[in-house]
């Protein structure tokens, strides 16, 4: 049913302040499918210096090394979720028919990388990241 929440981890950042020059990673969590929608919300913005918050995903096999992921949406650079104000933002990760580089489909584990991009000292945001909405392709994927 639609009311279910088929989502996992990468959240439980219920509202974290991130400041100019800062980068942090979430913990690794298991994937729930090949594809996912990443949603995050800018709650508070103090960014006179013009910074934005960039949230990207990394994936790895449990025994492997982290690979940066490539989005289906946005389809142009920067291919990640970018927050420049308050409100919801989203990125879609859609697996190809087979593995490609940069990575498009999820391997065993996934985590988010959150960074304040650009700006000046004093800039900060408060953001929260929602559980990933995992799904699989419903028709043969593009190669």
């Amino acid at each position: 049913m639609c009311g279910c929440q088929n989502s996992y981890g990468i959240t439980n950042i219920p509202g974290r302040r991130i400041s100019y020059g800062e980068t942090f990673y979430t913990d690794w969590v298991p994937r729930g499918g090949d594809c996912a929608i990443l949603r995050a919300e800018g709650l508070i913005k103090t960014a006179a210096g013009g910074s934005t918050v960039r949230i990207s995903l990394q994936t790895r096999s449990e025994e492997g090394t982290a690979s940066d992921m490539d989005t289906f949406y946005p389809s142009s650079s920067p291919k990640l979720l970018e927050i420049s104000g308050t409100g919801l933002a989203r990125a879609i990760y859609l697996a190809k028919a087979s593995s490609v580089s940069p990575v498009r489909g999820f391997l065993e584990q996934v985590r988010a990388k959150i960074t304040v991009y650009g700006g000046a000292a004093g800039d900060y945001y408060v953001v929260r990241i929602f559980p990933l909405v995992f799904f699989d392709n419903s028709i043969p994927a593009a190669s």
Partner: protein, 115 residues
């Protein structure tokens, strides 16, 4: 998550279908759907969200939002102030019998106000 649904036009009248009601998970939500085929085209099919409380009579509820394109076949509706129950609406008007659309709804992101 629902598996793919196909709707085929049996005539050229404007038709609205409802999904079952389901309980809200929070006051706000971002709903997603993926449309994988559409031979109706030209905006002939639209998707919406309606809401009502459990004690309210009626099938249509109150409109809580409509789906708009994100990219490719992906659509999103961001809804705030949801009541106890939620359902989706699918409205289409084909220009010829046999036209249709194939789509699926994806799991929602439920959230309450944080500030």
């Amino acid at each position: 998550m629902w598996m793919l649904t196909q709707i085929t036009a049996l005539d050229t009248a404007s038709v609205t279908y409802y999904t079952p009601w389901f309980p809200r998970g929070a006051e706000n939500a971002a709903f997603s759907l993926e449309k994988v085929a559409d031979t109706i085209g030209n905006g002939g099919v639209t998707f919406g969200v309606v809401t009502k409380n459990r004690e309210d009579e009626g099938s249509g509820g109150t409109s809580a939002g409509s789906f708009s394109s994100v990219s490719g076949g992906f659509y999103e509706a961001t809804c705030t102030g949801l009541s106890e129950l939620v359902r989706f609406t699918i409205t289409f008007r084909a220009t010829a019998v046999g036209q249709g659309v194939i789509f699926r709804f994806l799991p929602p992101t439920w959230y309450d106000k944080a500030v």
